[in-house]
Symmetry: C3
Subunit: 535 residues, 3 copies
């Protein structure tokens, strides 16, 4: 099968045929609708049969495989008419997607669960036995009390969270945990926009970066967001459910890492984080996150003071991941600022804390001068019609519109857009947002030359200008010689682009009732009910 | 010497002379063969003498240093006629390159080795004394038996692995270790293409990324690959040779890190990896990698089940680092899939495991739609002749051919090629390959916006289209105005490019006998025996 | 306020007005001096008022906020006439900027300090009690002696380092520490250019990357550099001041991380670093950094041998962060090389060490062939006048000059320059410099495909050629059609660019006396006293 790869191209006659065929049909990168597909042509060139991508064939560089939709389940929320999930969502949003699936039958007591699972899945039993649920000694030591106020003598067995009937086992959500832990659950549920409280219901179901893409490439997004809102074992992992574990930054890291949620790295590269790395193995994590208990703070120490399960309570002014600008040191935010300084005072002088917070504001404000400089260049190109492609040359966004993505009404997106819009979005979302987080966590490295830093902004600003300068230069030349530029077809169509939901949006397919819900804080620019453009 | 750097350019008359000279000789970045070299001109501008780069002079920005070849040793394998290694290869492929080099004379007993080295290199003696080789108590505890089946009473001394004659000391390979550890060594030797078993003999000696470049910049590649195949102390580092050490992910990390081998980060960013970070210091690594022994799996737990030293045994379908597409959930791979699920079942329900593996297949299949979309754009540019440079304008690849690198017969390379080919190779090798690894290790971060992720693919796809759009736009303009484009000379020649082995390939310089060897699985597209083009 | 964001652009009449206004005033990305600002126009488009960026308003994407200078304090050094710092500098350069600021009054004995701070800031008291300063048992165990040579019985209390009068508390510098620790301080002060000794006085006060930018975006740079030179508690953090802590690589990591100071990652990705990660929790860090005490070396083991506080003592030939080229294996550097090999010999054979060091030289020398190839392409474009923008089209550098940044007299900068110059600077500073550090620390990963690696150099070289090729192609087209290219105005002006100090440089504003100081090693290309160009 791979023989063709063993010989240079020039030696292979039928490959040449393939190349010619390729040239006829897709010189511009777009296969014609009536002609052979890219896969057909690649099949000639690579001497490998075309086939479906789900049949287990090993396709060389995947070039002759044809995409087949995976098994989906219906989405929910305002865009449920076209939103899909992979079946694995049942583990992450069990309240809505769970279906029992065990092959074993029977109704069991906890002792029986434990007996069998000690063999089947011994680690989770060991974990449970180390937990305050499964270990009576720990329970007594903690003084755990039941709803009647009396010390609880029994353990919290498997059945409490999963049921007894093996054919009807369920997966617990925060609601189940909340039956015994009402205070923590109430705190967990008390956040606003941008908090764990609505991380799934709002930030997945209403948000572009998830709704606008095929389910299979954003499954990971949905999962983290679902764990944060729907489950308690994201931070207190099963089946130990340990408060100590959740006090470590590793508990937060799983979600709060990487280019656009880089809080963990901001902490980790601070002097706090360096000392954590040096000393965590010898620190006593069983102590509450209180003044005097830890040489250095980890995430929860500041963000979940006294164990309060609403981190937003101790957060800063919510600024859409730092993409909005706000001076947190202004007199109107005095109460918030004083609260931070009070926490820093556990170890530092109030003046030191105030100086560092003033530094944060100064750094953030400066960073926005670069962003506005970039925005002016980008919008200028749009206004002069030199962006390539202009909105009409891209696929419709997931609203079904052809609108400049960085202006009101547009859908900021990292995909299916022009290079200039992408660069701009990276600057505001990846870099400018992180400048704030770097200063807030005293990460000198990320303030200056790391992720979300002065130097990275400098780089992006030059990249944006470089792109804008070239686009304008092309336009001037073409104008001078009377050549009309038409953006390439590959900006609008392609095997991937053609899978985007913008193409299938229909007027009236949004559940406008959803946006009347007052129990959740809808995203600011939700586009509910707006008529779809392109149909 | 650096005085010139203390003054602005405009103040320095002879610098101006230098600049003019520079303009005359290398305005296009290429020094003319008969004229002064770049170094000569830079010497005028920077007021610093030209000299060889190996004489110990400190050259400002290295601009006036002339490259001198380092000391090489002859390579081996099918391309030994032009392949070179640095002398340090002797430590990594001792079977073929070792030469004794000690300055001390004498034949010594183990006790004497230990006596002297306790002073000379105390740590390695301490390590040995902590090892099952050097510590009788440990040996007895482990019930170590000799070839005769009886408990071994003595230690394994220095001389067993290095010899007694200090002038003839040798460095052990897996063959030496295999004398006492035949089972592990047999397993280590039982892998196929892509395994540790052939990591050097095939993946270095036959592979483009190593053979195609000067030895000194790929020494690090060769070393890791050599350790993996030739030596056992890459995972069980000397002189402790500890199984516990090899159970930790840090043992795998040294090689399996970074943009194109990023397995460690995929694990580390998973919830397994986060828990490892949180708890590794308190885990008992002396326990075998068996069900119930570890709260979270590390690499070896799944990939070296029951200590089997052939990780490929428990791997997935080999897909050339994920660059080939395969749906691992297809019925034809049921046995393989069932084996994975069985391992996940140590802690998880089989349905959970199956759901996650289905998610992996869905994610991988979707990722290949983006890659094919990119490939169509790239190949379309090649077919229309707008790639800059076209293959004839680059140096010959290491086969000696001028062939489009992403089509059969070409040599995919990250260097000495057009920007478009480089971007394409990055997309398939760096990103698409990693999408699979991210899903396989449940790294939500890397599935979506990390290394090898949906968002990084989106970025690369836009970069590819941006480049293609500009190339086509230039071509359209030049056609309209009747200007013939010739790719710049710097694409083909330069101080570095001129060192590439493609220039010196001669017909018949491949050892075709090598490819008749049946003891190793040759790379699929090895180009043995093909006549060299450009001579 | 955010209502406009809830509707698509086309639905909003006044937004359209805004867009038109935008087009009239800043189609090219530059607001006209007399017309409305970018903020004014964005205000129309986004329906959000223009306001100052320090009033606490939450500005959507920061687009209508107007930059207000933060509170500055005067800088010092040769450029003090225009250099500024944020007030937080007082914590980092207390000798020059400290002002007492406590709100509490009174003169206190150490016991009183401890009493009150046990409540106020308990951790720092706990730390002190664990330290050799505050713990008599530890002091006795260490055999600490006073200046009179007799064993010291008392503790070193708060007042020794901070004074007794709460209204006149001071922050200690190395000078205070040096009163009791003269040997360590003398070593700390004995370095040359590039050492901790002058990390602030020279490398901040005289250096372009700090002086050339607004204070608020380089505060983090200044802080790390200040800690390194001015304070001892960067490595021995307060209030434990532990030698053990400083022996761990985490102590060095805080500063030595990231793209242009990536020493920590070079170590961390070596086999030494992998073993450190695996075993640090069980290593005894209280032992001195001497032969036989550690299974693997951490930073201080090699760079601060026997506790010598001048790491440069054991460094390599200083080469300006690796940006200059030098073959460290040349005979003239034999003494230095022998010293390294001697240290490696703690665990390794001298031949192994020599082989690895030869590999380093070979790798570095090869890496410079790529850099020179790039430099030739870049300078060639400058000489042919095709860089976009040419120096006259950028803001003046911080000397006040319009000079090509990569030639003598120019100011190499990552900002406010052409893309080609930026790419070139990244290649020499970010990549070529790191190649050396990768080899020096035996990081195979970073030698080959990580940060500062053969493959990253390959990528950058192609990026540079891609940019150069396009610039030349534009120029050829424009010449053919008689279109004069003028670089875009946004290269020279913008909200951020207009804040750069180059605009305000005046002749005679450099303190030339500074450069007569002989107690510090001035940077090689300091531009003192040169007349400013553009005034």
């Amino acid at each position: 099968m791979l023989d063709i790869l063993k010989k240079p191209l020039s030696r292979i006659a039928f490959a040449i045929t393939g190349i010619s065929l390729l040239a006829c049909t897709m010189g511009n990168g777009i296969a014609k609708a009536e002609g052979p597909t890219f896969q057909d042509v690649a099949s000639q060139v690579f001497g490998q049969a075309v086939g479906p991508d789900n049949d287990g064939t090993l396709y060389v560089f995947g070039l002759t495989a044809k995409y087949t939709q995976p098994k989906y389940v219906d989405g929910r929320g305002p865009y449920k008419s076209f939103l899909k999930f992979l079946p694995s969502i049942r583990w992450y949003d069990p309240e809505h997607y769970w279906t029992p699936g065990s092959q074993n039958e029977g109704v069991f007591k906890n002792e029986e669960c434990v007996l069998c699972h000690t063999v089947q899945t011994p680690t989770i039993v060991k974990d449970w036995k180390k937990s305050a649920h499964g270990n009576l000694e720990i329970r007594r030591g903690l003084g755990v009390k039941g709803k009647d106020g009396k010390p609880v003598e029994g353990t919290v067995g498997c059945d409490v969270c999963h049921g007894n009937d093996h054919q009807k086992l369920f997966m617990p959500t925060y609601k189940n945990c909340g039956e015994c832990h009402p205070k923590e659950t109430a705190e967990h549920r008390s956040g606003g926009l941008g908090s764990h409280t609505h991380a799934f219901t709002v930030n997945v179901l209403e948000f572009s970066w998830h709704v606008g893409k095929p389910a299979e490439e954003v499954a990971g997004c949905a999962e983290c967001h679902a764990i944060a809102e729907n489950r308690c074992d994201g931070c207190h992992t099963r089946h130990v459910f340990s408060p100590a574990e959740a006090r470590k930054p590793t508990a937060c890291r799983f979600c709060h890492m990487g280019i656009d949620h880089d809080e963990w790295a901001m902490y980790n590269t601070s002097i706090h984080g360096c000392l954590y790395e040096a000393e965590s193995a010898t620190m006593d994590w069983s102590k509450p996150s209180k003044k005097g208990n830890y040489r250095v703070p980890a995430c929860a120490y500041c963000h979940m003071q006294d164990g309060n399960h609403n981190p937003q309570q101790f957060g800063t002014i919510y600024s859409d991941m730092g993409m909005f600008q706000v001076d947190r040191g202004a007199p109107k935010h005095k109460a918030k600022r004083d609260a931070w300084i009070k926490k820093c005072q556990d170890c530092h002088s109030p003046r030191f804390a105030a100086d560092k917070l003033a530094e944060m504001d100064a750094g953030v404000n400066l960073s926005f001068t670069k962003w506005r400089e970039a925005a002016a260049v980008i919008v200028g190109c749009f206004l002069d019609g030199v962006v390539d492609p202009m909105p009409e040359g891209s696929p419709p966004d997931w609203y079904g519109h052809y609108t400049f993505s960085l202006l009101p009404g547009g859908d900021p997106r990292f995909y299916a857009t022009s290079n200039l819009e992408r660069l701009g979005l990276e600057m505001i979302c990846y870099l400018t947002g992180n400048v704030y987080k770097a200063y807030a966590h005293m990460s000198m490295y990320n303030q200056t030359y790391g992720n979300g830093s002065a130097f990275e902004q400098d780089r992006k600003l030059i990249e944006i200008k470089t792109e804008a300068a070239k686009l304008r230069r092309f336009a001037a030349i073409e104008k001078k010689i009377g050549l009309e530029h038409k953006s390439e077809a590959f900006w609008q169509h392609g095997e991937y682009l053609d899978l985007l939901p913008g193409w299938i949006r229909k007027p009236g397919d949004v559940d406008v009732e959803w946006f009347k819900r007052t129990d959740i804080p809808h995203r600011a620019n939700a586009d509910a009910g707006v008529e779809v453009h392109h149909h």
